[in-house]
């Protein structure tokens, strides 16, 4: 009569080749336009094969992993700090209109400061070490998480809160057992956008007097006119961005198996 909640949904594996179609077409076009028809010359756009060779060379002498490790460390620290602060502030603002009136307008103002505008000030305030870089990434992660969590808390169905009242739940119980869980889908969306923002802000952060990191690799490639190195940087950034999103999506699917929304699947 009742299906198991975890296995009740159809598997996605069968149609996953669909996801590979577009990247393969793009890759093929890239290879053809650079090495066969030569629409682009190597100093404009190196071929995929040249990029792979460059990546291999960078990986061989440990250069690439040095950059990756540096960037990953910054992302992790910045995202955890930014998202953590956003969860704290978002919860406080979400639960109290008074706090919202006090805090939210200022945050909305700060939110619109472009990432690059922060750079000189963070340098002045925090020096040239890791601190300004991590702070900038944290700023990038903060706002999507904050906004989505706030929306989620405010979207909590009043009728479900009333169920809590009926059972005599106190404020703490209401927040932990109903409001925050109800806001969870929004929080996870916020975290996914937040981790994406972190990678975007990373590149800006590594403009700050850095000697390591994927953002540095990009700038180094630009300064020394080596588009193959820039492309390695871009692809590795894109890859890790996708990977971190995939991790969060995986968590999302596991945690939110209770949702009952439109899934975009065609009817059978």
């Amino acid at each position: 009569m009742v299906k198991d909640p975890i296995t009740a949904r159809p598997q996605r594996g069968a149609s996953s080749w669909l996801a590979l179609l577009l990247p393969l077409v793009l890759l093929l076009t890239w290879q053809v336009t650079t090495s066969v028809t030569r629409v682009f010359l190597p100093h404009q756009l190196p071929s995929p094969w040249q990029v792979v060779t460059t990546a291999w060379e960078l990986a061989q002498d440990g250069e690439l992993s040095r950059h990756v490790v540096a960037s990953l460390g910054r992302i992790l620290a910045g995202f955890v700090i930014g998202a953590g602060a956003a969860i704290l502030v978002g919860t406080l603002v979400g639960l109290s209109q008074a706090v919202e009136i006090m805090v939210d307008p200022t945050l909305q103002l700060v939110r619109n400061v472009p990432s690059l505008a922060w750079v000189p000030f963070l340098l002045l305030w925090l020096g040239i070490g890791e601190a300004p870089k991590i702070t900038l990434i944290a700023i990038g992660a903060f706002f999507p998480v904050y906004l989505n969590l706030l929306t989620g808390i405010r979207q909590t169905d009043r009728k479900l809160i009333e169920v809590g009242y009926v059972f005599g739940m106190g404020r703490v119980d209401l927040v932990w057992r109903i409001i925050l869980l109800s806001a969870f889908p929004y929080l996870l969306t916020g975290l996914r956008i937040g981790i994406g923002q972190s990678w975007l802000f990373l590149v800006a952060a590594e403009l700050i007097a850095s000697t390591r990191g994927l953002g540095f690799l990009l700038i180094d490639g630009q300064n020394t006119a080596r588009p193959n190195i820039m492309l390695v940087g871009i692809l590795v950034l894109a890859g890790f961005g996708k990977l971190s999103d995939a991790v969060l999506r995986c968590i999302e699917r596991r945690v939110l198996h209770w949702t009952d929304g439109f899934e975009g699947r065609e009817r059978r």
Binding site: V2, Y165, F167, S182
Partner: protein, 255 residues
């Protein structure tokens, strides 16, 4: 005699509108009572006041000898919709209102309750996998989990189809037979009121007062086709002034 539910001189105002004007009613222990009245007359508001959900009213509400100042586990409440928490399994929804220690080892209790509402083995199901009637039965189990002495039901079967409604009514009666829990049920369904209850409280339109109490006084199990029920139905319609509309006006004949 002492009453299970006793409301005296309850007055409720929202902004300037008076919803309830000097409402008094009393429900006896182990009685099934229905509250019926025109739509929007404040039946649900009264029920919410009795449960402690609604405050800021004048008058006194006493349940089992204790004055109601807020919601308590001694009073079960069932809403018009199931209102199950969608992220919790059926099991976790049922133990929602229990204190922490009892929540942890509530599986025997849950199994017993699920058997009572004919949903054996559904502990691990999620609300989205349940039909409307099933979800409402889980909501009933949840309301009973805290072992309340009084159960308040706010049009609990109005959102399900007629057949499901009848089986839910049987279910409620079976639970009453076993537990003799005092029930006050808001409904707009005359047949439901007459089939279930010992007494029917009739309310007037806004501002609402209690206009009539009808003693159903029929043995259970009842037959829905019993002419005695039909006779009381007429009495109830009179009390509600439904039948007072002249037939010509009802047909829309030109005068």
């Amino acid at each position: 005699m002492s009453f299970a539910i006793e409301a005296t001189h309850v007055v409720k105002r929202f902004a300037r509108a008076t919803i309830l004007e000097d409402m008094s009613l009393a429900v006896r222990p182990s009685e099934i009572a229905c509250l019926i009245g025109p739509s929007g007359c404040g039946k649900s508001t009264l029920l919410r006041i009795l449960s402690g959900l609604e405050r800021d009213h004048a008058g006194r509400v006493v349940i089992d000898g204790r004055e109601v100042t807020g919601p308590s586990r001694a009073v079960g409440f069932m809403f018009q919709e199931p209102r199950l928490l969608p992220w919790l399994t059926v099991h976790d929804n049922i133990v929602l209102g229990l204190p922490r220690a009892k929540r942890r080892d509530g599986s025997t209790l849950v199994a017993t309750l699920l058997a009572q509402v004919h949903l054996e083995g559904s502990e691990r199901a999620l609300p989205r996998q349940l039909s409307g009637g099933m979800a409402q039965r889980v909501a009933l189990a949840r309301a009973l989990a805290t072992e309340p002495s009084v159960l308040l039901l706010d049009e609990p079967f109005s959102a399900v189809d007629a057949l499901t409604r009848m089986s839910l009514q049987e279910l409620v009666l079976a639970i009453w037979q076993r537990t003799r829990i005092t029930m006050l049920l808001v409904t707009h369904d005359l047949d439901e009121a007459l089939y279930l209850s010992d007494r029917v409280f009739v309310m007037s339109g806004r501002p609402a007062t209690l206009t009539e109490v009808i003693d159903v006084d029929l043995a259970r199990p009842r037959d829905r086709r019993d002419p005695e029920i039909a006779r009381r139905r007429v009495q109830l319609m009179d009390a509600l002034h439904v039948a007072s509309v002249p037939p010509s006006a009802a047909r829309g004949d030109p005068r």
